[in-house]
Symmetry: C2
Subunit: 359 residues, 2 copies
C-alpha cells in the first residue's frame, strides 16, 4: 500500500503520453520523482522525458500490470482513459488520482451536468437524447437554437452541431454520429473564463487566478491571466471550484470552463479532471504551476501557492505556427514551450508561448 | 554539419549525468529538444529525465561514437571531462560547446589564472610549483600564509591547504597529493560574490544579477541574489564577464566566482565553464534560468532575459538535510528542487530550495 506523502525517488505513473504528460513529467522531475508513462504509441512527448515507458493500449492488462509494477501512484493526462483501466490499476493496489468517479463524470456530458447541478453548481439547461426522435423532442422542450453534442468523446469542438429548428434535430443527430447526445440551451455569455484549482489528499483546496479564454473553431487560441474580473466574480469561481472538488472528494488539478453572463453570474460549461490548456499561463505567471501542483496533489504533498507574479497572455502554437520558434525565442517578453512533437499536422497543438507583463 | 539555430526536435548531448545535467535536460525538454546523456554510471539523475542514455567512460571511443550518433550538439555539466573526449567528438563532426580551450583552462588552476591575467582580469598573486622545493620557494616569494591547491581536479575545497610558513610547504605539498600545485596569496576579501553570464553563438552576451555566496567547509551553503551591490560593482562584474567570454570565444553559460575587496574592487577566484551552483537561484528568480540559457546558447538560439523578478535565498540541501522535503514543500515562500539521487551520503548535494521575497 502506498503511503503518503510520497517521498522523492518514488515513481509517478501517467496514463497518456502527450504534451500534458510531458509537462507533468518535467514538473515531477524537478521534485525528484521518476515518471512512468503508459501510451499506445512509443516515443511520444512525455516518454522522452521520463524514466520508464510502457507501450500498450489503456485497457491492455499486461501494460497496466507493468505500469502498476513501476508506479507508486498513477494519474492521467486526459479524461478519455477507460474507467476500467482505473479500476484495474486500483485492484492491482496502485492508487489512481483523480479517481474513477471524476473520470466517469467527465466522460459523459449528461452525467457531468447532472452532477454539477446536484452539487449546487449552475449550468445551461440541457436534455439528453438517445435517438433522433428524442433529440427532436429535446429541442422542442429546450427551445431552438440548441447545441447538440455527443455525450461522450467530443473535444476541441468535435462532435458538436447547432440545431436551429426542432425539425433539423434528426438530421443533426445522424450528422454527429447517430450516438447518444446532449442538447444544451445557448448561454447568453459575454465571455469565456476558466478557473484552475487543486485539491490535496488532506482536502486542502488551492485556486489559481481566473483566465479569460478565446477559442477559434472550437480550439483554445489565447488565454489572458489573471483575468480582469471583479472580486465578486473571483469569489464566485472559488466557491464553484470548492463545491465541485469537495463533492467529488477530488485529488489533483481540475480545469473548470465557465461562461460569464451579463451581470456577472457564472455558469459551468465543462470540467476537465486534469491539468488544462487554460492553465498553461501558470508556468510563467506563478511560482508553482499547475503541473507541479498536480504532482504535489497526487503525491500527497502540501499544495503550493497560486498567486500570480506576472500578467500573462498565453498563445497556443497550432500546426506550422510552431515553425516561428526562432523568432519567438528572440522576443524578450516571450517564454516558449515546445512539446517535442514530430509532425506539425494542421491545428495540432505543437507548443505555446507565455507573453509576460508586470502585474 | 550541424546548422544553427538548432531546431526543436534535435538532440542535445550532455557529458555528465548528475544534477546539473538533470536540470539542463529538464530545460531542454521545455524547449522541445531531446537529450542524450553520457555518464559512466547507468540510471543517474540526468538520464532518468532524458530520451537517451549512453553508459561509458568519458574517454571510451565506443561511448563517444554513440553520443555523436545521437546528438546534434554536445555540452558538459562539469569541467573535468577529458579534453581528449571533446576533441574526439569534434573529429566525429559534433560541435561541443563551450569549447576545448575553456575546458583546458578550467582544468588547470595555473592556466586559468594565467589566462585571466592575460585577458586583463585581476586575480590574487600566484605561483606554480611542481615539486616540494619549488613550493617552498613559491611561498617564500609570495609571502606566508599562502593557499596551496592542486593544479588539477580539486573542487568543493578538496585538495587545498593553507601554508603558514615557507618551512611547511614541503609537507603540505605531500599532504595534498605530491602533484603539481598552485600557491595563491590570500585575498583580503570582505565577501564572496559570483556572476553567471552567457554568450551566444553570435557573440551576444547576457549577464545575470550577481549573487552573494556563503561557503561552509569549502562547499556552497547559501546564495543571496540579486546581491546588494553598488552599480559600480555590478558594472565591474559585467566587464569581467564580457572580457572572459570574449577572450575565450565562449558559447554557453559560465560561472565566475569573485572576491570583493575592501573598497569594492573585484578579483576573480575561479571560473567554471558550465552552469553553476551559485546560479540555481535563477530557476525561481528569473524568467529564463541558467539552464535554459545554456541550452539556448549551445543550440544557437537567442539568449533570454536575465533580470530578476524576485529576490531569492538559495540553500543547498546536503546529505540528510533533503529528508526535510515534506516540511520544506509546505513553506509557501519555498520552491523545492530535488535531484533524484538514491543515496544521501553526508555532504552530498541532494537538492536545493529557493526562498522567494519580493524585489
Amino acid at each position: 500500500m502506498t503511503a503518503f506523502p510520497l517521498p522523492p525517488g518514488s515513481t509517478i505513473g501517467i496514463l497518456g503520453g502527450g504534451q500534458l504528460g510531458r509537462m507533468l513529467a518535467l514538473a515531477a522531475g524537478r521534485l525528484g520523482f521518476d515518471v512512468a508513462v503508459l501510451d499506445p504509441e512509443a516515443g511520444g512527448p512525455a516518454s522522452r522525458v521520463s524514466a520508464y515507458e510502457v507501450v500498450g493500449a489503456y485497457d491492455d492488462p499486461a501494460a497496466l500490470a507493468e505500469l502498476a509494477r513501476l508506479a507508486d501512484v498513477v494519474t492521467f493526462e486526459f479524461e478519455n482513459v477507460p474507467a476500467a483501466a482505473v479500476e484495474h490499476l486500483t485492484r492491482l493496489g496502485v492508487p489512481v488520482a483523480p479517481g474513477a468517479r471524476a473520470l466517469a463524470i467527465a466522460q459523459d456530458r449528461v452525467e457531468e451536468k447532472t452532477f454539477l447541478n446536484g452539487a449546487g453548481v449552475a449550468t445551461v439547461a440541457f436534455a439528453p437524447a438517445d435517438d433522433a426522435e428524442a433529440a427532436r423532442e429535446a429541442v422542442a422542450a429546450l427551445g431552438a437554437p440548441a447545441l447538440m453534442k455527443t455525450r461522450r468523446e467530443g473535444y476541441d469542438g468535435k462532435g458538436q452541431k447547432w440545431v436551429e429548428h426542432a425539425a433539423e434535430a434528426a438530421a443533426a443527430f445522424e450528422a454527429v454520429g447517430g450516438k447518444p447526445v446532449i442538447l444544451e440551451a445557448p448561454a447568453d455569455f459575454v465571455r469565456e473564463l476558466s478557473v484552475i484549482a487543486a485539491r490535496g489528499r488532506d482536502g486542502e483546496i488551492a485556486v489559481y487566478p481566473m483566465a479569460e479564454n478565446h477559442h477559434e473553431k472550437g480550439v483554445l487560441r489565447r488565454s489572458f491571466a489573471p483575468a480582469d474580473v471583479s472580486a465578486e466574480t473571483a469569489a464566485q469561481a472559488e466557491r464553484i471550484a470548492a463545491q465541485i472538488l469537495s463533492a467529488l472528494d477530488y485529488v489533483g488539478v481540475i480545469g473548470i470552463e465557465l461562461f460569464e453572463l451579463k451581470g456577472g453570474r457564472l455558469l459551468v460549461n465543462e470540467i476537465a479532471p486534469r491539468v488544462h490548456n487554460t492553465g498553461h499561463w501558470t508556468m510563467d505567471g506563478c511560482e508553482v504551476d499547475q503541473f507541479e501542483q498536480q504532482i504535489r496533489a497526487v503525491a500527497g504533498w502540501p499544495l503550493g501557492p497560486t498567486h500570480a507574479h506576472s500578467r500573462v497572455e498565453m498563445l497556443n502554437l497550432l500546426g506550422q505556427e510552431a515553425e516561428a520558434w526562432a523568432k519567438l525565442a528572440g522576443e524578450p517578453e516571450t517564454r516558449i514551450h515546445l512539446y517535442g512533437k514530430r509532425e506539425a499536422t494542421p491545428g495540432r497543438k505543437m507548443g505555446h508561448v507565455n507573453r509576460l507583463r508586470p502585474l
